[in-house]
């Protein structure tokens, strides 16, 4: 296992970087989409809330592998040529947006209504209320489930290897087929995934401890 790590570290490191780039860009893009979707889900207008609900149901209710294959094979059919890596980021973004929207929806519903009423009373616009009062608190409230989601996406990014993106999983497959040491190679890959996820979890726990102050209370 360590032999594989030592002998193939440039390839593995490159794969790990692609894994991180794909996952983190999907998380960041999905965050923006997820916040918008959360407000859509909570909208009073049925015409807005209903399609958002349908979107969430589809992306949360089907396997991500199926979603990936659908996006990857469907886009060329409608005349959009995307590189595998872009299709991968797109799929992971659309998927995580649905999960993040649910996290944010739950977070937003925990903000006391009085705060929003007070802000509106004080003449702060609806948009400013969301930006300055709701969202900063929501990010603090939702940090633990958000970390779980980041870890889930990092783990799920391993399956974009099926559309030939040379991320960590794909690189390991290549090494395994060259060295005929599948057990050692996949153990090495597992170790790398584990290390990244443990660091993320610790980082989140640290941030959570630091951010305890200034939370909304009933």
């Amino acid at each position: 296992m360590f032999e594989i790590l030592l002998n193939h570290y440039p390839a593995l490191a490159e794969g790990l970087i692609i894994t991180l780039v794909v996952s983190l860009s999907a998380i960041a893009l999905g965050l923006v989409l997820g916040v918008l979707l959360a407000f859509g889900l909570m909208s009073r207008h049925r015409l807005l809330a209903w399609p958002c609900g349908l979107y969430r149901s589809f992306w949360r209710g089907t396997p991500i592998l199926l979603q990936l294959l659908l996006v990857y094979y469907l886009l060329p059919e409608v005349g959009i040529e995307l590189a595998p890596i872009s299709a991968a980021i797109l799929t992971l973004t659309l998927n995580t947006a649905a999960f993040q929207s649910e996290i944010f929806r739950s977070g937003i519903s925990h903000i006391p209504a009085g705060q929003i009423e007070a802000a509106r009373m004080a003449g702060i616009s609806a948009w400013q209320t969301r930006k300055r009062i709701i969202m900063p608190q929501v990010f603090r409230l939702t940090l633990p489930p958000l970390t779980n989601e980041i870890i889930t996406i990092l783990k799920n990014s391993s399956l974009i290897s099926v559309i030939a993106v040379t991320e960590l999983m794909r690189v390991s497959e290549q090494i395994a087929s060259r060295t005929f040491q599948p057990l050692e190679t996949y153990l090495a890959a597992a170790l790398l995934y584990l290390a990244v996820n443990l660091v993320l979890a610790r980082l989140s726990a640290y941030l959570e401890r630091r951010m305890v102050g200034g939370l909304a209370t009933e």
Partner: protein, 232 residues
């Protein structure tokens, strides 16, 4: 654009895929639920001996993608003399992976029962065994149903990964149909619908179980325990 005839012609492949997904998920989830229970029980029974190893196992399940685990079992297994068929590797992979999550769900449920309940029961002379079976487990059951349902749904969705180690499940067969007919939307959407159906069934089942457990009236407990088996 949507051609339903394709699905009708490929019905056998779709049904075969559905059957394989269903039985592999069923056995995998069963293994995950029971192994998870064992791990949680060991950890709660003797935290000094089993606490650390079980905690490590849970971290492994959380930090390593299921796909890696499946590859380790299916491609790595033969190097240590463990040759599994793809379907068996699927069942074992889902089982081992899910067990870590279930162990944590059970433990969380058990830990959230107020200590006072146990102390009060012991004060009243109820034996430790009855405290466990009549006070701790019934309360825990109610708490763990929603997260367990959630986890089962996640496992069913993740089971699509077994198609990558060449199990003819729903996802694999849908891809075969796509490659044969050059129609993308119909097979994938049909299969997505089937997954959604399975997931919806699990969600409904979990919800029904949750309601049943919530409505159940606690039976009176006699301190001496001799009438315990009377009103089953």
């Amino acid at each position: 654009m949507f051609d339903i005839a394709i699905l009708w012609e490929a019905r056998e492949l779709i049904l075969q895929g559905l059957w394989n997904t269903v039985w592999i998920c069923f056995l995998g989830c069963l293994l995950a639920l029971s192994l998870g229970l064992l791990l949680a029980a060991l950890r709660l029974a003797n935290p000094q001996v089993f606490g650390y190893p079980v905690a490590c196992y849970v971290e492994l399940c959380r930090g390593i993608p299921l796909l890696i685990l499946l590859f380790l079992l299916y491609y790595g297994g033969p190097s240590i003399g463990l040759t599994l068929s793809a379907s068996v590797a699927g069942v074992v992979g889902i089982g081992l992976y899910g067990a870590g999550y279930f162990a944590e769900i059970y433990r969380g449920g058990f830990k959230s029962i107020p200590k006072g309940h146990v102390e009060a029961a012991r004060m009243l002379g109820i034996s430790p065994f009855h405290v466990l079976t009549r006070i701790q487990i019934p309360q825990m059951a109610r708490l763990i149903v929603p997260p367990s349902t959630n986890q089962l749904i996640i496992l069913v969705k993740e089971s699509a990964l077994i198609s990558i180690i060449s199990v003819n499940d729903l996802t694999k067969n849908a891809t075969s149909i796509v490659n044969e007919t050059f129609h993308v939307i119909e097979p994938y959407l049909a299969v997505a619908l089937l997954y959604w159906l399975i997931i919806e069934l699990i969600a409904r089942g979990g919800y029904a179980l949750e309601k049943r457990l919530a409505n159940r009236q606690p039976r009176p407990i006699e301190p001496l325990g001799d009438t315990l088996h009377a009103n089953g």
